[in-house]
Structures are given as C-alpha cells and as structure tokens.
Symmetry: C2
Subunit: 171 residues, 2 copies
C-alpha cells in the first residue's frame, strides 16, 4: 500500500495505448468504495472518450492540452443537493467535497496499481465544464482525471518534512 501511495505520480503525457472499458469500470468501482458522510455517496462520474468533448474540457481547464491526449478522461462530480438533503450546508460545502476527493484518490491509487497514469486536474472554469458536459444545477464538477499510459516516470516532487506538519496533543 505504501508503495502505491508513494509511487503514484501526476502524469501529464500519455502514449497512444488505449484504456479498456473494464479498466475504467475497475476505477469507478474503486471510487465508489470511498467512505462518505452517512454513506450518502454524493458522486457522479462522466467518462469521456470523444475527441471533441475532451477538447471542450481542456479548453475549460485553462487549455491544459495534455487532457486531450489521454485516451479517456473521468470527470468527477459532486451532487450538492444529495449532501444538502442529509447534512444541510455542511453537507453541501464540506462533506460533498471530501467524499468526492476520497473517491478521486481511490481512482488515482487504483490506476497506479493497474499500471495506468493519471493526473488530478483541479484548475478549470466550472461553468465551462458544466456546459460542455450538460451537468445540471446542484451538481458541481470537482476533478478532471485524464487516464492513460504514461510516456515517462516523473520524479517525486519534494514533501514537507514530517516534523513540519506533525503536532502532539496541541497544534
């Protein structure tokens, strides 16, 4: 597990090798096993293979062109209404974001274990992505994940030392 957690990299260049429907299903299955507040599961996933739709997503994502080069792109969405029904504004603004982030992390780790590369893209105009994908009100796109086979193994970016982020008993 630590090997997967530490070995995962953000991949921004992909080969032409395809990603099968079974592989995508395994990633979504992993995502759906994330924990969620009250087991509400406020997630929705849009699987994009169309070159035109990928182009629209990349355009809304500040022209990060590598998104278009991935054979498949998974757009993770948070259904705010679903979380709001259970937990009010804390559900809509916090749990909903956390639950879908945990689902996203499951996708990244599982993809890595399957030999696939991914990148968690968060920089995009939400309205642009919603328009491109016909996402309804109350649902928010929260992550764009290009998935494919990496052309290279990037180095691990540095991490803050543990002594910098750990506190005992009090902050």
């Amino acid at each position: 597990m630590l090997d997967a957690v530490k070995g995962r990299r953000s991949i921004r260049a992909f080969t032409d090798q395809p990603v099968s429907e079974d592989e995508v299903n395994a990633l979504i299955d992993a995502a759906c096993h994330a924990p969620s507040a009250g087991n509400i599961q406020p997630w929705e996933f849009i699987i994009v293979r169309s070159a035109e739709v990928k182009r629209e997503i990349a355009a809304a994502a500040l022209n990060q062109k590598f998104i278009e080069d991935a054979p498949v792109v998974i757009v993770v969405c948070a259904d705010m209404a679903r979380s709001r029904r259970g937990y009010g504004s804390r559900g809509a603004t916090l749990y909903c974001i956390q639950d879908t982030a945990a689902a996203t992390q499951n996708i990244l780790l599982t993809a890595h274990a399957m030999g696939l590369g991914t990148c968690w893209v968060g920089a995009f105009r939400e309205e642009g992505v919603k328009k491109a994908l016909g996402i309804p009100d109350n649902v928010r796109p929260v992550a764009i994940i290009p998935v494919g086979h990496s052309t290279a193994k990037p180095v691990r970016p540095p991490r803050r030392p543990l002594s910098d982020v750990v506190h005992y008993e009090k902050f």
Copy 2:
C-alpha cells in the same frame, strides 16, 4: 489495491491494544504523499493520545464516545492561508479541502493495510475542536480519525450501482 479499497471499513469499537509511534508515523507519511494543488501541501496533523484531550474532542464531535476509546486520534487540519496564497478563494474553499481529504483517504487505506481500524469523523463543531487543540485562525480541522485495533469486522454498507453513477460523454 482493490482489496484494500474494498476491505476498508469504518471502525467504531477498539480493543486496548496500543498503536505505536512508528505506526502513526507511517500513517502521516502516507498522508503527506497525497497529491495537492501546486504541491502546496496545506495539511497539518495533530496526534492525540491524552485521555483528557480525546474527551474534549469527543465532546466537540457530538459526543461520539468511541473517539475516546481509540488509543490514538489523528486530527487532520487544512491550512486555508497556505492554499489562499497560491490560489485565492478557490484554493481556500476547494483545493485545501480536497488535498486534506486525499491525505485522509491515504491514512484510512494505509491503516487498513497495516491491520489498523479507523473512522473518518466529519460531524463535529469546528470551533470546539479548535479550542480544545489550540488551532489558530486560518487553519480548519477537517477530519477526526480515531485509530486502533478493531473489535470486529463490520459488514460493508451497500453502494449505489455503477449504472446509477456513471455517465458517458455527457451527464
């Protein structure tokens, strides 16, 4: 990886068996290997073993008494100022929450792989937790994770079927 992703359960009853400092360090190390927007790493972790502090945390967490029974409790915090410096309000309200949620999920999965049980507790009064732990302004407690050895293996709560959460090309 799928075994860990699917085998992880929310554990709310713990034995007296201790959790070592090495085990806690391995969990924090896993957390720190989560991806984060711009590699900003807006996370801070408070390790709580004191019975009195655990009692205060449980009280702020709507009296979820099982939190007190765990040998160690990890409180995950999001440094909003750190994310705001990099990415403005999108950083402070979205990336910061997602990055710390990915770190939290790494902790849950790694703990499970190590034979430890955890529970992602999100229902708490943030001001109460901040006061109990001396957490400064601009830092937000986002998850309370009791860690210990489970007394039992709970059944997996049902999941929405894939057909319910997957969309192709458009929502």
